[in-house]
Symmetry: C2
Subunit: 334 residues, 2 copies
């Protein structure tokens, strides 16, 4: 492993994404990617009394499922990384408290899944571990309740708002295997361009995505055409347009091969999600379901996945603060 | 680097803790460790309008200070890890948004500082980085407001409660240097023994500390007498007694060389903190101030630092959940 350029890590022995698992909620189950997910829920409670407990069950079951699918005994998984949007990341800690695997809690807001993938890959290549598990979750109802308004209020959502994905994705990185391989990682810096509209996360996070993508290209010497697909985490329709425009000003044309998990997750015409999907589970489930499938099928041979996060809370917005963004990129190749 | 036993990482090329910095609030400034901290605040606001902004300033200034003290140009610090207790870790993300160093957000509640130290050491030994910075913060007023009651209420605190430390600690791990060295790390599992009293964090976290300490001894073949000092993060007086008793039942006597940062931070007789200090900054500042000084002086040559965290939030307690604990251990030797 070595650092190249200003902020990119090159994996000398590319690490294998051994297996993934994904579970999504009822709205996602009606979306265009439904057939790629392992488990589709019929309602937002999944037999639990609260949305928070339902979200914990999502990550718990996604993690159990990826372990089962991988065929690796749980006691051969050395460490795990997880995080979510709930205050103090309780979805992960309650969901994984019976897992009995040493646990690193991470918080990158909606960039958490790729943050976990980067750190897991570092652990497996370094020799600290053979198999590392990581996952992330979010839940539309628990997120609305915590960050915005009580759902019972029936509050109107502005057109720039996004729909937090209900779901969880989990994956296992292994030091041995036949790929898909993690070849490069570009962890992002915090970027704050002064956006204060908590209903326009795409605009708040897009500059961070652009910063990380530019750093990745500069550090690796690659350009957009190297990749079959460049996929951001949850910028939605508005953020996606901003990324295309901003990269254009730097001389990069990504119109052909760039998309966003939040755009892919829902049908813009038939599903009323305004600017598209968001949340930790957006990138986590779209990767674990759809993108991993395309990599295994060989439809995609080289992808750049850039998960984006908004590092604010409701108190910071009430205190008039802007919204810092972050984006972590990872290059996955078969 | 290699994994030994069930959950311990052995650093083949021990990584150096190059420098530390610590800033504490007014109550900590009256405590027995005051002379070891770099900066003592006169009030809880530090010129800011809110406690949250004051906490962000704490981590920002602690990070700036450790960079200055280390003499390493900021652009030679490859990555940073930080986290705190505020919802969505906003102290860290707002405090470090101008830092311009690729950022990994972590959340281990009050175990965050050692989680950062472990991950930083893995990054430097692995070759992914030469210098990695990590830090953690907490603030009595922002924590009380968020987790318990408005301070203006003047609510009575039960005898088992602890006092969240106002402060921030930061440190830099480097792949080159003359120590103190990080030699072993034992990341912890989530342990939940069913404690539900949110005013007795020591009891909730002590079983996790014991689990990690036992794993560390088993994996490394060491026993308590190997270390000059075994120090837990923020169990306070009650949690400390529980650890001593529980380890006794496993045949380990730690009465001679075991203490807790929450016990060390405040004067039990003169300062009205009940069971002692707590919060991410408790372990972060006691290590960065007091313990690092003792290591540099050679008073301590071998310490085992075990930071403890309670992975709950106020919603989980209101929903009747118990409090999962976690503890990450790191062995530091000169």
């Amino acid at each position: 492993m070595q650092k190249i350029g200003k902020q990119t890590i090159k994996f000398d022995k590319p690490q294998t994404i051994l297996e993934t698992a994904s579970i999504v909620g009822p709205k996602e189950a009606q979306g265009p990617l439904a057939k790629y997910f392992d488990n589709l829920l019929e309602d937002e409670f999944w037999g639990e009394k609260t949305w928070e407990k339902a979200e914990s069950k999502l990550i718990k079951q996604a993690v159990n499922l990826v372990i089962t699918k991988s065929g690796i005994p749980a006691d051969l998984i050395d460490f795990c990384f997880a995080g979510d949007l709930l205050n103090q990341c309780i979805s992960s800690s309650f969901g994984l408290r019976e897992l009995n695997i040493p646990y690193f809690g991470i918080f990158g807001a909606c960039s958490t899944f790729v943050e976990g993938m980067i750190l897991s890959s570092i652990l497996t290549e370094s020799g600290a571990a053979n198999n590392v598990l990581f996952g992330a979750s979010s839940h539309f109802c628990s997120a609305e309740k915590q960050f915005r308004f009580p759902l019972e209020l029936g509050n109107q959502r502005p057109p720039s708002s996004q729909w937090t994905v209900t779901g969880a994705g989990a994956a296992i990185i292994s030091s041995s295997g036949n790929g898909p391989f993690v070849t490069y990682a570009t962890p992002g810096k915090i970027v704050d361009k002064g956006i204060k509209d908590a209903n326009n996360m795409g605009a708040a996070m897009a500059p961070a995505a652009v910063d990380t993508i530019l750093s990745h290209f500069k550090d690796t010497g690659r350009n957009p055409s190297y990749y079959d697909a460049i996929i951001t985490g949850d910028l939605g329709h508005i953020g996606k347009e901003i990324v295309i425009e901003m990269l254009q000003t730097y001389g990069y044309n990504v119109k052909q091969n760039y998309n966003d998990c939040g755009v892919l997750m829902f049908d813009k015409e038939k599903q009323d999600t305004h600017s598209g999907g968001s949340g930790c589970a957006c990138c986590a489930t779209v990767f674990s379901g759809y993108l991993f499938n395309k990599l295994k099928e060989g439809k995609y041979k080289k992808i750049l996945l850039i998960a984006t996060g908004a590092l604010m809370n409701s108190t910071s917005s009430q205190q008039g603060e802007s919204i810092p963004g972050i984006a972590h990129a990872i290059s996955i190749e078969v």
